[in-house]
Every structure is written in C-alpha cells, then in structure tokens.
C-alpha cells in the first residue's frame, strides 16, 4: 500500500519575528519605506518652490516645526541603519576583488563603501554651505 502523502507546510505570517537575522533583514526592508517617504517630503519642497516664495517659506516653516525636527531625528537614525545594512551586504554583491594579488576582505569593502558615502556627504554639505555663505 502506498501511503506517501507529502505534507507541505505553509510559512507562518510572522516567520521573521523569532529569528534575529531575519528580523534585521525585515527592518532593513522596512526602513526603505521611510527612505521613499522622505523623498516625497523633499519633492513637496520642490513643488512648493515652483509655486512661489510664499509657498516655499510655508514649507520651510513646516520643516522647522518641533514635530518635523523630531521626525528628522528619527529619519536620521533610520537612514544610518539603512545605509549600514546595505553596505554590510555589499561584499555579497561583488566578485572577488584583489589588490596587489591579495583578496580584499569583506569588512574592507563595507567600511570602504561607508567611508566613500561619508566623504560624498561631506563634499555635498561643504559645497552647499560654501555656495550659500
């Protein structure tokens, strides 16, 4: 008698909740929603600029409100984690890199990427401050 009856288990809705690795992955994915949301905030600023000075000043006032400052603080933390989590997996996306015949370790790729980002942000911020001085 053939009693083969393979049982297919369904994934639980909270499959990522009880595993630290998968939880970190989901946080990485969810932070991208806030990253996208902030793009819309900036886009609103561009539209306000297009509508004229009064609208742009109003947008600036909203940005300077305590709620907005708190929101920006939260976003900064989210952005820092988001950036870190992607640079953390950057070595997984690259083929072997050799410098002087030696394999570049994963940590060097992660920290190199982060250093490049900090340098770019520094140049952008410095340039903006210099232009608006």
């Amino acid at each position: 008698m053939n009693v083969r009856r393979p049982y297919v288990r369904r994934m639980e809705p909270g499959w990522w909740w009880n595993n630290a690795f998968l939880l970190r992955y989901m946080i990485r994915e969810m932070t991208s929603v806030l990253v996208a949301a902030y793009a819309f905030v900036l886009l609103a600023g561009v539209f306000a600029l297009n509508r004229g000075e009064a609208a742009y000043r109003q947008w600036l006032d909203v940005m300077a409100s305590p709620w907005s400052v708190a929101f920006h603080g939260l976003l900064l933390a989210v952005f820092l984690y988001h950036s870190w989590s992607w640079f953390e997996i950057m070595p997984k996306t690259l083929p072997q890199i050799r410098l002087g015949g030696r394999l570049v370790p994963a940590a060097a790729i992660t920290w190199g990427g982060l250093a490049a980002t900090v340098a770019c942000c520094g140049i952008l911020l410095g340039g903006t401050l210099w232009l608006t001085r």
């Binding site: 009693v3 049982y7 288990r9 998968l22 690259l94």
Partner: protein, 238 residues
C-alpha cells in the same frame, strides 16, 4: 516533529527525554530515541561528520546539520527539532528533496569543456588563481540548509534557490568550462537570480562557508549587463 502519513493528518510534536553528554550531538540524541525509545522515528543520516549533507533539520528554528550541532549548546534543553523548513515532509524529519534534485540537474552541474581534449592531449590545466575564483563554491555538500533558510524559496518554491545557483556559478566561473551561456538562461529568469532579495541568511547557515548569497548577487550584475546589452544591441551576446 512527528508526521506519519498513514495516521497523522498533519505534523505534530512529541517529547522525548534523552541522556545528556558534553560531546553528544543532536544526531546522536535522535539515534538514541530510535534505538531505545521509539523505533518508528524516521530521519536521514549517514556520515556523522558534516560531509554527506543528509542530516539537515531545523533545530530550535535554525537550519543546521544534526551531526555538527551539539546538545551542550542547548543545555539544559529543550531542543525542538523540525524537518528542514520549506520542503514537503515525507515522514517525521524526512523531507522530499525531489524539487532540489531536479533543479540541480537542470543547471548541468558538471564541467562542459570549452575545448574538448583527448586523453592523449593530457589534462586541462588551471592556475591557482583560476581555481580560487570558484573554489569556495565547490565545497557545497547539497545539504539544502540554504533552502530552509531562504524566505523567498519558502514563499515561492519556483525559485531556483541559493544552493543550485551557487553550483551553477561554480561551473560558470571555472576556466575549463564553456557552458556558462547555457546556464545563464535559467539564471536570468525571474525564478533565477531575480527572486533573491539579498536576505543573506543562506550564507549564514551554510555549514561549509560556501556563501551562496555571494554567488547569486554577484551574478545579478552580469545578468543586468546582459539585459542592457541585449536592449541596446538586439541579437548580440554579451
């Protein structure tokens, strides 16, 4: 976890008490249950030294080889053992590997020589640097822990999956092989590389440090490049 297809409508859990020793593995605990407590318990095992890849199971929710997982890590217990996640359960801790095997076969996991050489012409030569390009991916023992770790495979079993893609890459990156183009067809598909969302847990659970996430994601760049080259110059190969 227990599942007897002739009597259980669905898997259930059963509790056993096993003697503890500092050097005892989870596999030995299962063998104790089968020998001393309950001969109806089914599970796969063979080598007891992490090379046959048979005893993969979810131990306290983490895909691991039972032979290289020790009771001391969980002392004083309990240890919850489930059949390897995402695969259909045949009986108790025995899963059906049919899907994995057919996917493995489909990517032609063997060297298809770039230039055929006769025996008289001698061996295919390779430099140490050429070997190093794919060496880590040769360590795969087909244990399927990476599949149990991959939520994308759990959500959509059509996904080719980490292990098979790592092996496809192993042969594609081999300087002696000339069949990369044949294999890339499958990898370009949505169920190929592009179902991967870079979770990276496959590499975390791999008992042989194969790093399948690296094999999958480094090929995404080649796949994207191939797409754009075809887009710009239809009919041309990258």
């Amino acid at each position: 976890m227990r599942y007897l297809p002739e009597s259980d409508p669905e898997p259930r859990h059963q509790v056993y008490e096993v003697p503890y020793s500092d050097t005892g593995s989870v596999l030995e605990a299962l063998q104790y249950i089968k020998d001393e407590l309950d001969p109806t318990l089914s599970f796969r095992w063979s080598c007891r030294m992490a090379i046959c890849g048979s005893c993969g199971m979810n131990i306290n929710g983490v895909p691991r080889l039972a032979c290289r997982t020790f009771l001391r890590e969980y002392f004083p217990g309990p240890v919850r053992i489930d059949a390897l996640a995402h695969f259909p359960v045949e009986r108790d801790l025995v899963i059906s590997a049919a899907d994995f095997i057919s996917k493995l076969e489909s990517i032609k996991p063997y060297i298809i020589p770039r230039v055929e050489r006769s025996v008289a012409e001698g061996e295919y030569l390779q430099t140490p640097l050429e070997l190093e390009k794919f060496n880590q991916f040769t360590k795969c023992i087909n244990c399927m822990l990476c599949y149990a770790a991959c939520p994308q495979y759990g959500i959509d079993p059509a996904f080719l999956g980490p292990g098979v893609i790592a092996l496809a890459h192993r042969y594609n990156a081999d300087s002696r092989d000339g069949a990369a183009e044949e294999r890339m067809g499958q990898l370009h598909a949505e169920e190929g590389l592009w179902s991967c969302t870079a979770v990276g847990y496959c590499s975390e659970v791999c008992p042989k440090d194969v790093d399948p996430a690296n094999a999958v994601n480094q090929n995404k760049m080649a796949s994207a490049l191939d797409y754009f080259i075809r887009f710009v110059k239809p009919g041309e190969k990258s």
